[in-house]
């Protein structure tokens, strides 16, 4: 079976620094893979290479067997690569509803409508409202993003990716900075996506309990290189992960 997403020897160097070092991984439909590793391990850079914000120094990215290495970010997004960002990355001066509607509109390919008012496309607005209620943001629909709490901004980030209805969901620490009572809701949303057979989820996450709950596979990056790949329980237990991720070094290290 062709993997939905595959990287082959994916590498990027910034000056002399190798940020992602020849990472070859295949991701299949219906799987949820957690990407873990210490800060600076290259996790976010790896996602940027997949979604196209960065071009690799070497290696390739394939989507459903098609080489997309040279493709620009918007084209990749339209092919079904969805990305939520770690640092909140929204349209601050627009309302919450407008933010989500932009995603819905992108998905519907309706951005080049010139002569009707955006809010008369009730189908798009309704879809956007649905995603807002999924993420419990309906009450905030008409607030500007700048007026939202950090946690709500994180939820909006998730809502926008959901609204794109991608095939591949890339979450970058989705619950970071969220208040404790909001976390379960977001995790339930991700779990619902993970449970569907045709969606592929990549998740950067630091919290091990979240990883154990959502992921059926864990890959570990350390200094840009892939150092472990397997089921959550075995990976977390392995010595190399203890060293790379938890910072426990062998006595002679």
């Amino acid at each position: 079976m062709t993997p939905v997403l595959e990287t082959r020897y994916l590498t990027i160097r910034f000056g002399g620094q190798v940020a992602v070092d020849s990472v070859s991984l295949a991701f299949h439909a219906g799987t949820t893979t957690a990407i873990v590793g210490p800060n600076g391990a290259g996790k976010t850079t790896f996602l940027n290479l997949i979604s196209g914000q960065l071009r690799p120094s070497a290696g390739d990215v394939f989507l459903r067997g098609k080489r997309i290495t040279a493709m620009a970010t918007p084209a990749r997004a339209r092919l079904g690569l969805g990305r939520a960002f770690q640092l909140t990355n929204l349209f601050p001066d627009l309302t919450v509803l407008e933010n989500v509607r932009l995603a819905v509109q992108a998905r519907a390919g309706a951005g080049l409508g010139f002569f009707h008012a955006a809010d008369t496309r009730t189908d798009l607005t309704e879809r956007a409202q649905t995603w807002l209620s999924e993420t419990r943001l309906s009450a905030r629909a008409h607030n500007r993003v700048t007026a939202l709490s950090h946690g709500d901004q994180r939820k909006l980030e998730v809502a926008m990716m959901l609204a794109l209805e991608p095939e591949v969901f890339m979450f970058d620490e989705p619950t970071a900075g969220m208040s404790v009572d909001e976390v379960p809701m977001v995790l339930d949303l991700i779990a619902a996506i993970a449970a569907s057979r045709d969606k592929t989820v990549l998740l950067i996450e630091h919290k091990m309990d979240v990883v154990r709950r959502l992921a059926d596979r864990v890959v570990v990056l350390h200094q840009g290189a892939l150092v472990a790949d397997g089921e959550p329980a075995e990976v977390v237990a392995s010595a190399i992960v203890q060293e790379a991720y938890l910072g426990i070094r062998p006595a002679n290290g």
């Binding site: 349209f91 951005g111 008012a117 955006a118 007026a147």
Partner: protein, 343 residues
């Protein structure tokens, strides 16, 4: 969308009514010409706002597109092809050329950093200015082109024998309402455009281009279309200006004074609102036309006082315009509209 503040609504309504009935409220050649100029600059400033306020593109070539339309109308008329068809063809050719050149600049240079894009527009605008003064056979050089208008637009033309509410039913009246109606139509068109799905994407690009791309929008396409539309509308405004002045020359349409005025209108009125630049246009045009006579009045009435008259001598009017603008920009950084925005 946030609802408009009542004061702002009142301002906009008064501006609309004043322009709608300008020939009757403010009879006289000069005041009607001023009202025409306000209508034209509303269109010009609003079209610039689509670039600056909505998409976040800083271009200095907007006057060049304005000039395309003005010369488009002036060239056939000055060569003796005097008719409505000449005006129509001239405007369309000017607008099409403006859209094309604007799209070409955008495609070639919007990929580079914003500051370099601005520099490129500055270079192209300077080039256009030089061309307009050098290609004497076509543009009339520094002297520009003077021409006469179709009979229906001439002051001697009467479409009714009797005055309407004391105003002569002449070609000037037709000319004013032609300008005002086209300006209104273009303004409404632009309002439609910025509220459309396309307009929302433009705002998304302004707010966070990186994220707009991550959602799948090819931002270069949107920015190119936005600058082409903006340039075409500026060209139509230029055509109207040519009809108003019956003259087109580099200083009236192409100079950086015009560009500075457009920037002031947009910034003073409030970027990213269209209604802001409309108010800004009215304010700046009025300041240009009436501050000097107003100061003359003050000067005369204070003739006996010592220092004051020197300060408000009519020759110092630019000093006061400058001071006024600095104060407005300082105290209302988001412009007139921004000052009334509810949060």
């Amino acid at each position: 969308m946030t609802r408009q503040h009542p004061v702002l609504r009142l301002l906009l309504l008064s501006l609309f009514l004043a322009l709608a009935f300008a020939p009757f409220l403010f009879p006289g050649t000069k005041s009607v010409a001023t009202a025409s100029r306000i209508c034209i600059f509303i269109v010009l400033a609003a079209s610039y706002d689509i670039m600056l306020g909505y998409t976040g593109i800083v271009s200095f070539a907007h006057t060049m597109f304005f000039a395309f339309g003005a010369y488009g109308v002036a060239i056939p008329l000055s060569r003796g092809w005097i008719g409505w068809d000449a005006i129509l063809v001239g405007t369309i050719v000017g607008a099409a050329l403006a859209a094309l050149v604007s799209a070409a600049i955008a495609l070639l240079s919007l990929r580079v950093q914003k500051i370099f894009f601005s520099m490129i527009t500055l270079a192209v605008a300077s080039l256009a200015q030089i061309l307009a003064t050098q290609l004497r056979d076509i543009t009339g050089g520094e002297d520009g082109l003077t021409f006469s208008l179709p009979a229906e637009l001439q002051p001697s033309f009467r479409f009714l024998a009797d005055p309407i509410f004391g105003v002569r039913a002449d070609g000037r009246l037709i000319g004013y309402y032609l300008t005002a109606l086209i300006a209104l139509a273009l303004f409404l068109l632009m309002q439609r455009l910025v509220a459309s799905p396309f307009g929302t994407v433009l705002q998304a690009i302004r707010e966070n281009e990186f994220r707009a791309e991550a959602l799948g929008y090819r931002t270069i396409v949107y920015r190119t279309i936005a600058s082409a539309i903006s340039a075409a509308i500026a060209a139509v405004a230029g055509g109207l200006m040519a009809l108003l002045l019956r003259y087109v020359g580099p200083s009236a349409t192409l100079s950086f004074d015009v560009m500075t005025d457009i920037l002031l209108m947009v910034v003073i009125g409030g970027m990213g609102s269209l209604t802001g630049p409309a108010l800004g246009a009215a304010l700046v045009v009025l300041a240009h036309y009436y501050l000097q006579p107003f100061m003359q009045m003050g000067f005369d009435s204070l003739a006996d006082v010592r220092i004051l008259p020197a300060l408000i001598h009519p020759d110092r009017w630019l000093l006061w315009v400058g001071t006024l603008f600095v104060l407005i920009v300082h105290f209302f950084p988001a412009g007139i509209v921004g000052a009334f925005r509810k949060h």
